[in-house]
């Protein structure tokens, strides 16, 4: 048979070999179906470790307590006991190395997340002690009068005004 009849076949076989070779080179050895099968399992196995290695920023109250038991106990014996330290003080990261200290969020915006009174009597939000942020001493920061670690309304006024 003449060469020109076979030529397209050689080209096709060459392309096939090239594709298989490139596939071998490009697809990582840990790429496969693994535990979840053909429908949901295809992935690079090593990517699971990459996700597990993401740094933890919020290290929870337990970490704060190790060095600041006084502040921790203050907060945990107050009506704000369910609020995590890091919600106001910011995430731990690698404190005390980095950051050495925190820019504590003392803003009104933080307090009114819960204490801006919304007219929802069926919801617990409507039953949290709240204010209208537009009319309740609008230019002042909440912490000028209210102590976040001990927010009982009567006691704090005595503490703040000696």
């Amino acid at each position: 048979m003449k060469n020109h009849v076979w030529r397209p076949l050689y080209i096709a076989l060459g392309l096939l070999a090239f594709t298989l070779l490139m596939r071998q080179l490009i697809v990582p050895s840990d790429f496969g179906t693994h535990e979840q099968g053909y429908m949901y399992g295809w992935h690079r196995k090593s990517n699971e470790e990459q996700w597990k290695a993401v740094s933890v920023k919020y290290k929870t109250d337990a970490r704060c307590r190790e060095c600041h038991p006084d502040n921790y106990n203050d907060l945990k014996s107050s009506p704000h006991k369910m609020i995590s330290c890091e919600n106001c003080h910011g995430p731990n990261y690698d404190h005390p190395k980095d950051p050495i200290g925190y820019a504590v969020d003392r803003s009104r915006a933080l307090c009114i997340r819960c204490h801006s009174l919304l007219p929802y009597p069926n919801n617990i939000r409507g039953n949290i002690r709240g204010i209208n942020p537009e009319t309740h001493y609008a230019p002042a920061e909440c912490v000028m009068c209210h102590i976040p670690h001990n927010p009982k309304p009567m006691r704090q006024k005595r503490e703040v005004r000696p």
């Binding site: 298989l20 179906t33 979840q36 099968g37 992935h43 933890v56 997340r113 919304l118 919801n123 617990i124």
Partner: protein, 261 residues
């Protein structure tokens, strides 16, 4: 010299050979093909949201964005909180300004281009907040549509995205019925909630769970019968989002209302 008959025969053989897909050259393992999932893992992460307890403070969204390095001011988030205000005439007003990153501090409903909607307090029949996040479906449609194997389900049920493998085609963003996927503004690949996989695999809670002051968000292992979350799911009346899609979502809700989609 080739006659016509030979020529036709050989052409057919060559064409047939070329038509074989590349996957035909892969050696299949029959047991792998048959078993869709091995289910051998001792962990199946699930989430429990108690909407009765949520007050819309948004600490969960703030913590999520910082913990998972989602650009803080970009209007995308792995989790968000929706507010539903139902008036006496039955209409539902729904909003989630900035994914509720700064909480709900005003009674006005954010209607985007239509502006802020005032609702008179006496018209309100009920109002509630619904936190949303990835449902880590048992049958994740987002994984099924991925053409390159960049998004996948782990043995413990969490759906992850391989950032170095994603080509950014967006099929998964379109395929998710819950709208939890988006493009990461910095990495330019698909992004989604993964229950803080780096935390739960270390024995910690997801960042949103730790940030929630009211216990509205909880994470648990469905394969552990003594897990408090598993007990609630097994013994109380829980619902899931868009059950009719057949995705088998694994975020369970307490206290649903029919307005929630």
């Amino acid at each position: 010299m080739m006659n016509r008959r030979d020529f036709c025969k050989k052409t057919l053989i060559v064409a047939g050979g070329l038509a074989l897909p590349l996957t035909a050259f892969q050696v299949f393992n029959p047991s792998k093909l048959r078993a869709e999932k091995t289910g051998s893992s001792k962990i199946r992460w699930v989430f429990l949201v108690d909407t009765h307890k949520c007050v819309g403070c948004g600490f969960c969204v703030k913590a999520c964005k910082i913990e998972n390095e989602t650009p803080y001011d970009a209007n995308v988030s792995r989790t968000w909180v929706e507010r539903y205000v139902i008036t006496r005439d039955g209409t539902a007003s729904i909003d989630s300004p900035k994914a509720a990153r700064d909480g709900f501090t005003s009674a006005r409903i954010d209607q985007n281009h239509a502006g802020m909607k005032e609702i008179r307090p006496e018209d309100i029949a009920k109002a509630f907040f619904v936190p949303k996040l990835c449902n880590q479906c048992d049958n994740p449609p987002c994984v099924q549509v991925c053409p390159v194997g960049a998004t996948y389900q782990t043995a413990d049920g969490v759906v992850l995205v391989d950032r170095s493998w994603c080509i950014g085609c967006g099929y998964c963003v379109m395929g998710c019925p819950y709208g939890v996927r988006f493009f990461h503004p910095e990495h330019h690949v698909a992004e989604k909630c993964n229950f803080c996989y780096h935390r739960i695999s270390k024995g910690m809670n997801s960042a949103c769970v730790d940030a929630c002051p009211f216990g509205a968000r909880r994470i648990g292992n469905l394969k552990d019968p003594d897990d408090p979350v598993t007990r609630i799911i097994m013994t109380e009346r829980v619902s899931v989002l868009k059950e009719e899609y057949g995705t088998k979502p694994q975020v369970f809700y307490l206290g649903f209302s029919l307005e929630v989609k």
